[in-house]
Structure formats: C-alpha cells, structure tokens
Symmetry: C2
Subunit: 171 residues, 2 copies
C-alpha cells in the first residue's frame, strides 16, 4: 500500500513542533510523503536531516492548495481518508481501507473546511474525544497496516537501532 498524508490548517511558529511531529510520524509509520501548506522551511530541513540519518526516501512537499492535492488524488484513484473525531469508528472501517492500494490521509490542525468532509471517501474517527491529530494519524496508520509498518526497512540509514530490553543499541 502506498500512503501519502496531507496536513491542512497549521499555523507557522505556534504549531511548528506539532507540525514536525506529524511529519516524523508519517515517515516512521510508512507514508512516502506529507503535503503541507504554510510550512516553516526549518521543519522541511529537520525532516530531511532525519531522513539522511535514519534512511528511507520520505518527502515533505509544500503546497499552496489542499484542494489541488485532493483533486489530484481523486483523479489518480487514491482513496481519501479524512481523520476527524466526527467520523465513522476506525474499528469499523480499518479493514476496508486496508484493502486499497493507494491512500491519502488528511489531517487538520484546526477546524477543517466542510468540503473536505464531502470530498473524502472516508471520514474516520480515532475515538470521538478531542485529542491530537498526531495520535490519530499514528493509530490510523497502525490499524490500516496491521502493525506491519514497523517491519519496514529504511534503506541507506547512517544509524539503525537494535531493539533491546534495557539501554541503547545503535548500529
């Protein structure tokens, strides 16, 4: 499955750390790219540095228009999954979503325009309580990949961790 992420509505400076977390989660949980509008160039740099050190080919792609990204996704036949606390329960739809070849996951930093709800193939709630789009993204990616994202290799890494019970082992 090929996965892209679109994050909309972030505010520069105020949301910078959360934006960085969202991008790193997308990468660590198997997405190939994240599209973002209004992105601080420092964040793009931070994420590229992580890729250099830890491997893989994840891309941060700045965009001026979330609508263009959604329309392109539709045209290419990608399944659009919008994460919102108002949507269908993740447990009810995860297996159906998992059956797709190509998915675009949409997360919002603030209130998301109504059009996104209408354009999305799935509006999905990772719990119906207010929490965090970072958490929603992580759990959604974990559920639709049945945890297999953690078996992926990140090629050309300068550093690699060997999981261990106590302490730290790094290659």
């Amino acid at each position: 499955m090929t996965i892209s992420v679109l994050r909309i509505g972030q505010r520069i400076v105020r949301d910078d750390r959360v934006t960085t977390h969202a991008a790193l989660v997308a990468r660590a949980f198997g997405a190939s790219r994240i599209y973002m509008s209004d992105i601080n160039p420092d964040i793009v740099r931070t994420v590229r540095d992580v890729c250099k050190t830890w491997g893989g080919s994840f891309e941060v792609e700045p965009t001026d228009s979330w609508r263009d990204i959604l329309c392109d996704a539709k045209e290419r036949g990608q399944t659009i999954v919008h994460l919102t606390m108002y949507g269908s329960r993740i447990g009810d739809v995860a297996d159906e979503i998992a059956a797709n070849d190509s998915v675009l996951i949409v997360i919002g930093a603030q209130k998301v325009p109504r059009d996104v709800y209408d354009i999305a193939d799935y509006n999905v709630a990772v719990g119906s309580q207010p929490h965090s789009e970072i958490a929603a993204l992580a759990v959604a990616l974990d559920r639709i990949q049945h945890g297999r994202q953690f078996d992926s290799e990140f090629p050309d890494a300068a550093r690699k961790i060997v999981p261990t019970e106590h302490g730290k082992q790094v290659l």
Copy 2:
C-alpha cells in the same frame, strides 16, 4: 486495567502545544491521570475544560519529582512501561503488558535520564525510528487495550459525538 501516564522533560512554552496533546491523548485513550513536571497552568486549565465539556474524571497532576512518582508506582505494584525508540518491539510485549491490572506509562519530551531505563519494567519501542511521544503513547495505549478504550463512556459529558460517515452529529 488502570493506567497512569508520566511525562518528563517538557519545556514550558516551547513544548506547550505538544504537552497539551499528550495530556488529551492520555485522557481520550483511557488513562485516569497524567503526572507532569514544569507544567504551564494554562494547560491544566485547558484539560480541565475538556473534561467538563466531554466528561470523565481525568486528572492532570503536577509533580516536582519524576523519581518519586516512579518509586510510588513500584511500591504500589504498578507495572512501569517506558516508551523509547531503543526498547523492545511493542508487538513482542503488548500482550504481556496487557495482562497487568495497573500500568504507569512513561514518556519523555527530550533525552530521558538513564535511571528511567533501569527502573522501568519494560522499555518499549513503538517503532525504532524518531517520531513523537504523542504517537508512541497513543499506539501503546491502543495496543495494550486492544482498541477497547474507544468503547469507554465518559460520564457526565455536556457534549457527545455520534460517529457518522459524513458531517457532524453532536448530542
């Protein structure tokens, strides 16, 4: 299962939004409380407001000493689970952790003191790539509760969402 969360190492202002996300994730994913040092009173207020509106009895408990919290947990027989990218794979230990009655999950905003690795009963990696303690907390809570946290009720809520395919339904 009773779950508490301890977050250590956050920096006021710089980390405030991430700190708020961590607290809200703890609440939404079934923990009863989060302990935090160096916490901005605004965050405590924000989380209390969420509880008033959305129900339940989640508590933010300021602490001056993470070590005291860990020692108390040990004495009370709680299982201490430290989330770190260096730890054992979550898939290998989640079921074992799920068998405990009472768990304290420890997350760090920055580099965590070596003692935490030694005191913890489990050092657990939610993937061994750099990402986000918010994501790690959410996925760990989802895995050790087998997704059942989303079936919980939050008593005395002023607002409650009815999951729906398109649009918003709020009681």
